[in-house]
Symmetry: C2
Subunit: 329 residues, 2 copies
DNA sequence: CTGAAAGCGCTTACAG
DNA sequence: CTGAAAGCGCTTACAG
């Protein structure tokens, strides 16, 4: 059945160390090169990965830890990572943690056991346990979506995103504003995004601007509950959700309560999910470049793995997309 | 740094074959069991996967081939597979082919090289090349979402889905019907789903029922183009899309053309994507149980791998969900 | 129940 | 440039 390096060596009339050298780009004479190449083609030989890894003690696998599989952001980022790794002969291994932090830590150690060459971490939150794990395993790690001074990271410009949105909202004439955020444990979304928003409001809003902040989870269902409560005791002209999902939850709530968007209530979000331009009214949002983030993450990871210099932190641009869900007041 | 089985053996004062036997559930005396266990705990020993696989020539990895990562159906199915595999100490490896059939075939061979124990194939289309690959690798394969007499498979009841929808549409009084399908190369969606629909129309529709069939791709953007064309030269009371994405494209087109849903045009789809109940009007659809399909696929796969008997074909129930997008006429 | 030995398919110094 | 040999960390008959 499957040929081994010994078979190939024998068939080509050389030693297996020579075949191995050929395989790994070492120098061999033109003559032997041809012999070996021919046999390899002929028998369609491919080296056994396990044997390689056992000796080399490393692999060309990059592990990616994701908090969930069913989100636009995750899918797009993964696709980007996968494409870039593939073109560089690396393989992607995915560990889905279903938002369970213990599994996140476990996944890091598991990847280390499997001798992945590097780990890309899409975490919502970076705890001491994360840092400890990263330190212990001694494998390059790249954080995506969050930043931390002790780790390499690649982030979307959340502060800018919040700022652009805040500025836009004020310029559209909104003064009764509700911002639904998320937990501060998620620094990128919970803190930076909101702070950028606040900063813009402070700069452009003037004194008559009234902003109320609420907190909800990343789930649409909870966003609906939160939105229900808000609309019961508040009369904002706009609700800004910290994610498109939250904004979608707000829209759903408005529909249920026969509140017309954007005439009676404007809504905006963050993310730039595909679906946001399919719905009616189309959602105003700040688009993050997830696909590009994934590709960049992969190429940075490869540089880390191969020991090339690589920037400690990369910040990706964002883009405000005005659509129908925000009205002029 | 990392201990090997020899270290453990030495530390415990036994031979490494004994440790190995202990690890693999062979019989050891109570006494040695305790000694070994203690050392393993103490040093947090975990066997090297590569060495294991090199000898055993197989792994506890199940490869999953998916046509795309950014779809509700795929994500949900993957989550189901992953959860079930995890609880059974198997690992999931994902190969995303971005709808490129060559990569699909390559992925099968790649998985074989990596000695995965089984392959779960989420393919839209089964060609001779697929069958050849499956045969050549000699590894258990389970097809999900499509059926084929030569392969184990797990499918959603597409015929029933189409039938339920057809019946529902007729019962709601629709007689001017447009059905937007997809290529017949995708047998499940392109043929079975449509045929079920046709069958119901034939049974319940009577003579005055006019159904026109169109074909589009799985992309929303193309669905929009198709829908534009349809609405230009046709005046149906309802458009049924073969997938929720197509239905979403139809809705978008209706919105753009100021056609009110469902008063002027009803719309329905298939899939039961989460988003379909968040939008307004909420989309009438037939729900497939992707998560359950994933779990079942994983458990069937494990049975195939371990040589237990397993049904050649499994058909999963579907569920019609009437919502706001379909009007009574 | 236990251990010594061979071997899985590679790679890596080390000689020549 | 090339080859013989050792070794990566396991498992698996085979004796005892």
């Amino acid at each position: 059945m499957n040929k081994t390096i010994s078979d190939i060596a024998q068939l080509a009339g050389v030693a297996k160390s020579t075949v191995s050298r050929f395989l790994n780009g070492g120098s061999v004479s033109e003559d032997t090169r041809q012999k070996i190449e021919r046999i390899i083609k002929q028998y369609n030989y491919v080296p056994n990965t396990f044997a390689q890894s056992l000796k080399a003690k490393k692999t060309s696998i990059i592990g990616t830890v994701v908090p969930r599989l069913d989100s636009f952001a995750t899918s797009q980022t993964l696709i980007g990572i996968d494409e870039e790794l593939r073109t560089n002969q690396y393989q992607m291994l995915i560990a889905n943690t279903s938002q369970d932090m213990h599994r996140e830590i476990d996944a890091i150690y598991d990847f280390a056991r499997q001798k992945v060459s590097g780990i890309i971490l899409l975490a919502a939150e970076v705890t001491e346990a994360h840092l400890k794990a990263v330190e212990e395993i001694g494998i390059p790690v790249l954080l995506v979506g969050q930043q931390h001074e002790r780790l390499h990271s690649l982030v979307h410009n959340d502060d800018q995103a919040g700022y652009d949105m805040g500025k836009y909202v004020v310029e559209k004439g909104h003064r009764q504003i509700v911002y639904i955020g998320v937990t501060e444990r998620d620094q990128a979304v919970g803190i930076h995004r909101r702070q950028g928003f606040q900063r813009a409001i402070a700069e452009y809003g003037g004194s008559g601007c009234d902003v109320t902040y609420y907190e909800t989870s990343f789930k649409m269902s909870e966003a609906i509950v939160t939105a229900e409560a808000i609309l019961r005791d508040n009369k904002p002209s706009i609700i800004v959700g910290a994610t498109d999902n939250i904004a979608l939850g707000v829209m759903k709530t408005a529909f249920s309560n026969k509140i017309r968007i954007p005439h009676e209530l404007s809504v905006a979000g963050f993310g730039g999910y595909d679906i946001t331009e399919m719905i009616h009214p189309a959602l105003t949002t700040v688009k993050f470049h997830y696909l590009q983030a994934g590709k960049l993450a992969a190429s940075h990871m490869i540089r880390q793995v191969t020991g090339e210099p690589v920037e400690k932190q990369t910040i990706l641009d964002v883009e405000l997309i005005p659509r129908e869900s925000v009205d002029n007041v």
